[in-house]
């Protein structure tokens, strides 16, 4: 077997000797398992595009490089594979910046290749030159500039290794165009050389046991689960521990789907717009177990008064997250899947019926809710209906704002890698292209973008991309003529001074039809079910515009400065 492997490796390597940088690029990508690239051509990447012309790797051309970056991101989140984007130098590269920052904040494995001017012109203010490695240094996990064909293969392999291991993140590889034309001298060295990069994935057994002991001794434990559990593919291990120890689970926005929300132990999302149940449970808990989460300010509310009674256990692959915001009593550095699997044996089924009864009571008293009797079309109603009619099994992308929060609250999450949303950076316009990336990664699955009219109009040009490549993504635009979340804050904190948040929405149905997609529009609650059924049954991309209640507010709301337990429930409860 190994004899065969060696021969294969030799064949591959010998076929690269004397190859051009562009050919090495394409072959290295294929050896990394890449079968799709999202991007946009340009002068500095012509040699690469020439090789891609006859490559088995699929290339998806977006309308804007930001769209390509978000597509690669949505592809990565929904499949677990590394998303790949390719743009030209100068403006092509700088157009990726928002997408890279988005991926960086949410730890998404992504490699973005940017063309660069000829190596001897760098620093000369050449045409379409940009110091992209300088610009993206603070918003990427790592980046590198390639100026020779000989190093190209190795740098590409290093980029993929960095992107997908430890705490994943976006990596930029800036490739000077002359290196893609040059021929490699002899055989390229493809072995990654990263002496400073040794991510620790295996948790320390002593810490794992300490954590398990603390959990077993706790009277009111809560598992606080973040995106790290999804990234680590650890939702099975999570369910096993929750089952065995009878441990209630709350998730962050990025952790949605890591735990099946139909499980009675599910508290749903916590934090600023999370469920009162989850927030009360955290504030009352005596043992808070954070797994793959980072105590973000949207979750904790006022930090000094966060989880005041709890011993805090923090399981995370990134040591910089531990004790950054909140003092951690028992840190466990390691991969969530590894740590949870090894902790299971030490977790004891403890009778905490009092605590579980309290939680059941909170769940009954404080469900997510809205005024179902108003007679107006409510955004929450649309989202609930989509959840039911897709069996809570679709892949759902969102933009940022009120619609994003309502989707988190009302869709009903069952499995990981369903929810594609910009959590850390909060990038409006993420939803439309991310959904397209998700569809490419999951052919045959239902993929829906639940978007706001503000967010959608930022990147809606990518619907053209969906049409061009026959991707049957469903774009649901919750159209309220406002930048909803900003308007809500202006209503609640700025005396209803609606500064620059209102607009007259265009006719999204007509726009969709102009783009070549199916366009639909509803404005009455009675139309919801039929419209969604028609949308889901259509075999191509659809834009469904829903004219919803204009001044609806997101509740619950832990307003800025308040502690997590001071939940404003709005007027309904």
């Amino acid at each position: 077997m190994s004899q065969q492997k060696t021969t294969e490796a030799e064949t591959n390597r010998s076929s690269l000797a004397g190859a051009s940088g562009a050919q090495i690029f394409e072959q290295t990508l294929r050896s990394e398992g890449v079968d799709i690239i999202f991007g946009y051509p340009g002068g500095a990447v012509l040699p690469i595009f020439d090789v891609l012309y006859s490559s088995s790797i699929k290339f998806v051309r977006s309308r804007h490089e930001q769209g390509a970056a978000h597509m690669a991101d949505g592809y990565a989140r929904s499949t677990g594979k590394v998303g790949v984007a390719l743009a030209t130098s100068g403006p092509g590269a700088t157009n990726l910046v928002t997408g890279l920052a988005t991926a960086n904040m949410d730890s998404v494995p992504m490699v973005a290749f940017t063309g660069q001017v000829k190596s001897f012109l760098i620093g000369n203010d050449a045409f379409q030159e940009a110091d992209i490695t300088g610009v993206t240094r603070p918003i990427t996990k790592h980046n590198a500039l390639v100026t020779t064909a000989d190093e190209l293969g190795r740098v590409v392999k290093e980029a993929f290794h960095i992107a997908r291991t430890g705490r994943p993140g976006p990596v930029v590889v800036d490739i000077a165009v002359d290196s893609t034309l040059a021929k490699c001298q002899g055989e390229p060295d493809l072995v990654p050389r990263l002496p400073g990069y040794k991510p620790r994935t295996r948790g320390h057994m002593r810490q794992i046991k300490r954590a398990a002991d603390a959990i077993n001794a706790a009277q009111r434990p809560v598992l606080y689960v973040g995106g790290g559990v999804v990234i680590a593919n650890a939702s099975e291990e999570l369910r096993a521990i929750s089952d065995k120890g009878r441990l209630p689970v709350t998730t962050t926005l990025l952790g949605l789907g890591a735990f099946d929300e139909s499980n009675p132990l599910a508290l749903q999302m916590l934090g600023m717009h999370g469920s009162a149940t989850a927030n009360y449970a955290v504030q009352d808990s005596d043992c808070l177990i954070a797994i793959g989460a980072r105590f973000d300010d949207r979750v904790t509310g006022d930090l000094p008064s966060f989880a005041p009674k709890a011993t805090i256990i923090h399981i995370d692959v990134d040591p910089t997250s531990i004790s950054k915001n909140v003092n951690v009593d028992i840190p466990v550095v390691g991969d969530a899947k590894d740590v949870l699997a090894r902790m299971l044996d030490y977790i004891k089924p403890v009778d905490r019926s009092g605590w579980l009864e309290q939680i059941a009571k909170w769940k009954k008293d404080y469900p997510f809710t809205y005024d179902r009797k108003s007679g107006n079309l409510k955004p929450q109603q649309v989202i609930e209906a989509i959840g039911e009619m897709t069996d809570h099994d679709a892949i759902v992308a969102t933009g940022v704002g009120q619609h994003q929060m309502w989707t988190a609250q009302f869709y009903g999450w069952r499995r990981p890698r369903q929810m594609l949303t910009s959590g850390g950076l909060g990038t409006m316009g993420y939803g439309c292209p991310a959904a397209i990336g998700g569809q490419f990664g999951n052919p045959g699955k239902t993929v829906i973008d639940i978007d706001g009219d503000g967010s959608f109009s930022m990147t809606m040009g990518e619907v053209i991309t969906a049409v061009q490549y026959d991707q049957p993504v469903k774009f649901v635009v919750l159209d309220n003529n406002y930048l909803g979340m900003v308007r809500q804050w202006q209503e609640m904190f700025y005396g209803r001074r609606y500064s620059s948040v209102g607009h007259q929405c265009p006719d999204y149905k007509a726009i969709a039809e102009g783009f070549g997609a199916k366009g639909m529009s509803i404005s009455d609650p009675s139309e919801v079910k039929d419209a969604i059924a028609e949308m889901l049954a259509h075999e191509g991309p659809v834009v469904l515009s829903c004219k919803v209640e204009e001044e609806e507010n997101v509740f619950p709301f832990v307003t800025p400065g308040k502690s997590l337990g001071e939940v404003d429930l709005g007027k309904l409860i």
């Binding site: 490695t133 240094r137 990263l194 002496p195 400073g196």
Partner: protein, 168 residues
Amino acid sequence: MRHVITTQVENKPGVLAHVAGMFAARGFNIDSLVVGRTEDPARSRMTIVVEGDDRVLEQVRKQLGKLIPVVKIRDFQAVDYVERDLMIVRVHVPPERRTEVISLVDVFRGRVVDVANKSVLVEIAGPENKLEAFTDLVRPYGIVELARTGVIAMARGRQPSGSPQQED
């Protein structure tokens, strides 16, 4: 509190910018940052002096560790070490007071490397407190110009028994 940290980083373009950028972005208070060659051509040594409490030091260590070009980190908290900073200072000295300044320089084992009509150029090396003591003593004469390299540091060979050797 003042902490001295040395790191071994890959000797590649952009690494200094990367480390400096991280410190700026995270808002750490840097007293000095020195980078230079080592016995290994593939490695540079970066020595950083940081102000802050233990919590800050812990975050600095972790954030440095996260940077891919950073290969090793060592802080000198519980370790016996040698620290050196090199200073060149132009002291204003009228000819009739030159000898007293020169004897001050001798006491500090520094050297006068240039003599002009109304000033002398003094080179002096040592730990930070020595340089600061000298600067305070010559300040009354008038400091025209002052340049410091920043601190480099290295652990002593023999460690006090029981003290941990921190290596990453």
